[in-house]
């Protein structure tokens, strides 16, 4: 097991190096030089030269790359052009929001998708099965932002059951030590805030969770259909185990293996979807922040934000691989 983890960690190194080169090249490919975007249009050549000298922008490319790697490794992404705050500080505020949203979406998708897929497979060919196939087809065909707008229209605008924008009531002035609002509310035992935060989270989480829900339902169904014809299931049935126990111990447990990989693969989709969902619900996470950064040509934010999200994505995939190896011994020894 340890060898597997070490090998997997070593594989991370070339990816991170590649990623840093990709982002470094990308920043240089962006239109307009950093000096232009920071100093504005009315700058003089002298000012630009002075700026370039001060920040070492005249140095050879490899020197610049090395300096960039050094500062990035210390999680120093510079200062936002729009807000003049440290990008790292903004990430600290916004990342927990996106994380909370993504986790809620994943919980929704998993806890609804696995039972739904299981029932569909058990009732193979029946109306439940057909309905689940149809629903998952619609699920992958609806753009996240359109579903978000629909949910907002029905449940916030029409019915008024849930709030339509933001992460917390605007009049709330509660302290947020960790910026994970749910966690904060639980720590401080502030149940009213907890309720408010959850109410704000429901619609965005459902919108964001719809595609993973569709995929998880489908994979669970296929996987249960595969497993329930295995010899060990037949043996378990033949020796007279109650169907409930066979379902749980023999079928579901083995069927969950491919599902756990799929859940890991959804992280990228969730991060992409978060940008759109957060925009619809004005949810103050990484997504809406990056969107604004594109409009403001806020390069330090874009650079830091994209690098950070890609980093998170890589780490989550690593964790998924490791947990997969823990669940499935067959992987470890191959």
């Amino acid at each position: 097991m340890l060898r597997f983890v070490v090998r997997r960690l070593l594989l991370l190194v070339p990816i991170l190096i590649g990623l840093s080169i990709l982002v470094f090249v990308w920043i240089r490919a962006l239109p307009g030089s950093p000096a232009d975007s920071l100093l504005g249009e009315r700058t003089t050549p002298e000012l630009v030269r002075e700026y370039n000298e001060r920040f070492g922008l005249d140095d050879p490319v490899y020197v610049q790359y090395w300096r960039y790697v050094k500062t990035t490794a210390q999680f120093d992404f510079g200062v936002s052009i729009a807000t003049h705050r440290y990008v790292t500080d903004e990430i600290r505020e916004r990342f927990p929001a996106t994380m909370e949203l993504a986790l809620a979406a994943m919980l929704f998708a998993t806890f609804l998708g696995v039972p739904l897929g299981f029932v569909a497979a058990k009732k193979y060919g029946g109306p439940v099965d057909h309905a689940s196939l149809f629903a998952s087809l619609i699920g992958v065909s609806i753009p996240v932002f359109f579903l978000a707008i629909l949910l907002k229209y029905v449940f916030a605008v029409r019915l008024g059951w849930l709030p339509s924008v933001g992460r917390i009531d605007v009049e709330s002035d509660v302290e947020h030590p960790t910026n994970f609002y749910i966690l904060d509310a639980i720590i401080t035992r502030d149940w009213a805030t907890l309720r408010d935060v959850i109410r704000h989270l429901i619609l965005p989480a459902i919108a964001l969770g719809s595609i993973p829900l569709a995929i998880i339902t489908r994979i669970t169904r296929a996987s249960v259909l595969d497993v329930q014809n295995e010899d060990y299931v037949r043996t378990a049935r033949a020796k007279g185990l109650p169907p409930r126990i066979v379902d749980r111990r023999h079928i579901l447990r083995n069927a969950l293996l491919p599902i756990s990989t799929i859940i890991g693969l959804q992280v990228g989709l969730l991060l992409s979807g978060a940008i759109l969902t957060e925009t619809v619900f004005a949810f103050p996470g990484m997504g809406s922040w990056l969107r604004d950064a594109i409009f403001n040509r806020d390069y330090p934010v874009l650079q830091g934000g994209i690098l950070f999200l890609a980093f998170v994505f890589v780490i989550v995939n690593l964790l998924v691989d490791i947990s997969y190896a823990i669940i499935n011994p067959r992987i470890r020894y191959s």
Binding site: L19, I138, V157
Partner: protein
Amino acid sequence: MSISGRTGFARVVVCDDRSTRRSSEGSRVSIVEAEAVEVQLEAPSGLWRDAFHLLIRNPGAIVGFVFVGVFVFAAIFAPLIATHDVTEQNLPLIANGCCPGPSGDHWFGVDLLGRDVFSRIVYGARVSLLIGLVSVSIGLAIGLVLGAMAGYVGGIVDSSIMRVMDVMLAVPGLLLAIGIVAALGPGVKEVMIAVGLANVPIFARLVRSSILAQRDADYVVAAKASGIRRPSILFAQILPNAISPVIVTATLAMATAIIDVAGLGFLGIGLQDPDETPEWGSMLTEVNEYLQTAPFLALIPGTAIVISVLGFNLIGDGLREALDPKLRGR
């Protein structure tokens, strides 16, 4: 078996095998006779023909073809179908607030600037179809070459290509596309390149694995033994056999590309001038504040996206079932 029946060597084996089986089923025919029948039976069939027959009997796929048909028809004949000029603003129409809904003159109502929504939807089909097709082609072409090289040549070529693909896959798709558009600037061509490049690693991985599965197959060994050159083996022998999952993925990628393009449009970073070139995603951008009074402004372009995406997904699923009988009903 007809998959591997592309080389003469494999065909003989297949026929021989089938004719013995057939004669053992009871009817007394000689192997030669059986083979003659078999060859006759074989002549009009084949993977693609079988797949086609399965596909047109699949109700889901038929619905898919209808949806995509409507979409393509609207895209091609947009100038004939559209009832108004897409940029023509009719401000008096919205004088009493936003926005008058569907009516005889404006079938889908008018938008915030009094423009005809129906005509904009019809022209939007053009933009979506064009960008979708070109971007999937870009992703497919580059991914096919890279994946084929990686899978067939192997060694250092394989690992260097696949490491680059890993890095690209490390950035979530939409984020990668946003990054590329940010670097290139907004515009139709730029969005095509961005969405296309984001697709490259997906195709490269798929083609590589599907070629790896074929590389040591008997018919490849036979082709090698008969002295066919390596590039020719790759392109004339292996690729045609490894292509069916790629076709399925390409169809599904059309669906994803339409969603991605609409997503970029919705974020307002897609096209240079969404007022001039109507695009479904960007039509949804400003309606957020008008949900109370004019929900149809969101519903109509959204439904257009869902129908075209659903169409490609249905065809893709149908193709997958038709080309891989093991997956039927999954």
